[in-house]
Amino acid sequence: MTSRDTATSAVEPPFEALPEVRDDMTHQLRATWVVTRRELLRFKQDKARMVTMLLQPLLFIFVMGTGLGSIVDTGGNTSFETFLFPGVLATSVLFTAAFAGISLVWDREFGFLREMMVAPISRASIIWGKCLGGAIVATGQSLVLLALLGTVGLPYSPLLLLQLIGCLFLGALLLTALGVLLSTRIKTIQAAMPISQLLIMPMMFLSGSLFPVSGLPDWLAVLTRVNPLTYVVQPMRHFSLEHLSLTAAEQERLVPVLTWFGWEVPVGVQLLTVAVITLGLVSLAAKVFKTTE
């Protein structure tokens, strides 16, 4: 064998037998997790976003809470900040989660969406991955705020922490799903920002995060009850204030009973409502995404 022959015989086998892509649930779940993990990686890489997203809730609690606290009568010794805290927690995931959702528009604009679209995975797993990833990131960010529980007079009870984290995750998933759904229709960054703001602000104000949902004029009462975020804020406030011994007057003012046509809605049903709406939004987003991309 000549040296030239040796050189040409050193070719690699034409193609490797790498695993076939299976078209089953396990593969789709795996693909979903791959997309989810990218969201987490991106967030870890983006230190500035971590810090800036924390500033707003702090402003709400300490500046607005303390400022308004002097003129708000809670009906007892409970401070306005204590009342405000669960609402602000929910608000903090509202923003981060919605922005995580509309990051799909960025993915499209910067081309990365295409990399996912041509991979042997289903469109639904892209949507689920975006939603789960965004929700985990948003929840994770709010965890830092939980460290402030003590400063507003709430206990660091493991049960309360668990309940709040659960609610935050559910709320985050709801908002991410909403953001993703928007992104399936809105194709430009210029449009996505104002439209999401237009949606986020009313959702924040009409959720009872900043004021109690009782004793509102009818039109406002109706709007708060059709706002899914209300059913995240109310349970969070319920779980938080449960740990304090409130007077009857405080109970009525701060944690009013939420009713649908006169029926008192239990906290469990409220959370279930959010879960159902969230599932609906993700499915809708996946469906729209499948037909339009």
């Binding site: 086998p13 034409p14 790498l18 892509v21 795996r30």
Partner: protein, 330 residues
């Protein structure tokens, strides 16, 4: 290698795609046939709006055809979509990297999407990064990369899952000549070592010379398909360019005495003849105009393109990169 099908890498028959928006019906692809042997570098050329992109998108399973069939790596692009996807690598004209992630993270994401095991992923990522000379930059965020590095990384990513067919849509657009040459070196090396099939579109006629075969598409149809050499000989005309003391007179005399129409092109009197070498002596004896220089050019792929589409590729497609190089003249 049980999942490897040898045989044609791409087999297309009667493929059509029509777009309808309101009253306008655009027949983007009008029943084309293509046959690409495994292991070839296959060039796919044509003016903008010829239907190239739509064809590639159908071959890559991004778009469904209206009619006809296409098999890539042995599988049907509609009915066996994921099997095709598993076997093709794609590099798009528009970059599709996640700029916030590192080179390695981009490749790992890709490996995960394509279902590679951890060990396979590690090994392939090392291999492809070495191949495109980016091994030492693997932990750098892609945002810091130059255009050429991003493009090399995208080619590497397209290869992570060991595809049988690599689709490259304008892989060298906007890159400097050195980088373009380097990318073609990678492609040749890759084909030699792995026998991969490369399906490539390009604006650059000199790059089309790298291809084993070329198809030219226009108005939704494949107008011609052959090897670059055969295409050039098929035109059968040489181009003669002259610098003279009196260009106008030269043009008139060429018409009168040689019976050939000449014109001004890039500041020179230009004419097309069947055999340039035989015509040159007659120019000196019969024109009666002082000739300062003569150039005879064999047909280039630019001329081929011109002949079959009626346009030069430079006229038909606005370059996105800077400075269009001249076609590969012989």
């Amino acid at each position: 290698m049980s999942n490897t099908v040898r045989g044609p890498a791409i087999e297309v028959a009667g493929l059509t795609k029509t777009y309808t928006s309101g009253d306008t019906v655009v027949r983007a692809v009008r029943g084309i046939d293509l046959h690409v042997e495994a292991g070839q570098i296959y060039g796919f050329l044509g003016p903008n709006g010829a239907g190239k992109s739509t064809t590639i998108e159908m071959l890559c399973t991004i778009r469904n055809p209206d009619g006809g069939t296409a098999r890539v790596a042995g599988f049907d692009v509609v009915r066996q979509r994921d099997r095709v996807r598993r076997r093709i690598g794609l590099v798009f004209q528009q970059q599709t990297l996640d700029l916030q992630l590192t080179a390695e993270q981009n490749l790992r994401f890709h490996a995960d999407l394509y279902g590679l095991s951890r060990a396979d992923a590690e090994r392939r990522i090392d291999e492809v990064l070495t191949m495109v000379d980016l091994a030492d930059r693997r932990s750098d965020v892609v945002l810091k990369f130059s255009g050429g590095m991003k493009r090399r990384l995208e080619i590497a990513r397209g290869l992570v899952h060991s595809p049988q067919v690599l689709f490259l849509d304008e892989p060298t657009i906007g890159l400097d000549p050195q980088t373009r040459a380097a990318i073609w070196d990678y492609l040749h090396d890759l084909r030699r070592r792995t026998g991969i099939t490369v399906f490539v579109t390009t604006h650059y006629m000199d790059e089309a010379e790298h291809c084993d075969r070329i198809a030219i598409m226009d108005h939704g149809e494949v107008v011609v398909e052959d090897t670059p050499e055969a295409l050039k000989s098929s035109i059968g005309t040489d181009r003669i360019a002259l610098r003279t003391d009196d260009d106008e007179l030269a043009i008139t005399r060429v018409g009168e005495r040689l019976g050939v129409e000449a014109g001004m092109h890039e500041g020179q009197v230009t004419l097309a003849v069947a055999d340039g070498a035989q015509v040159v002596p007659r120019l000196f004896t019969e024109l009666g105009v002082h000739i300062r220089s003569v150039t005879v050019t064999r047909p280039s792929l630019d001329d081929v393109f011109m002949t079959y589409t009626g346009r030069t590729i430079r006229d038909s497609e606005a370059p996105q990169g800077s400075g269009f190089p001249f076609a590969g003249r012989r």
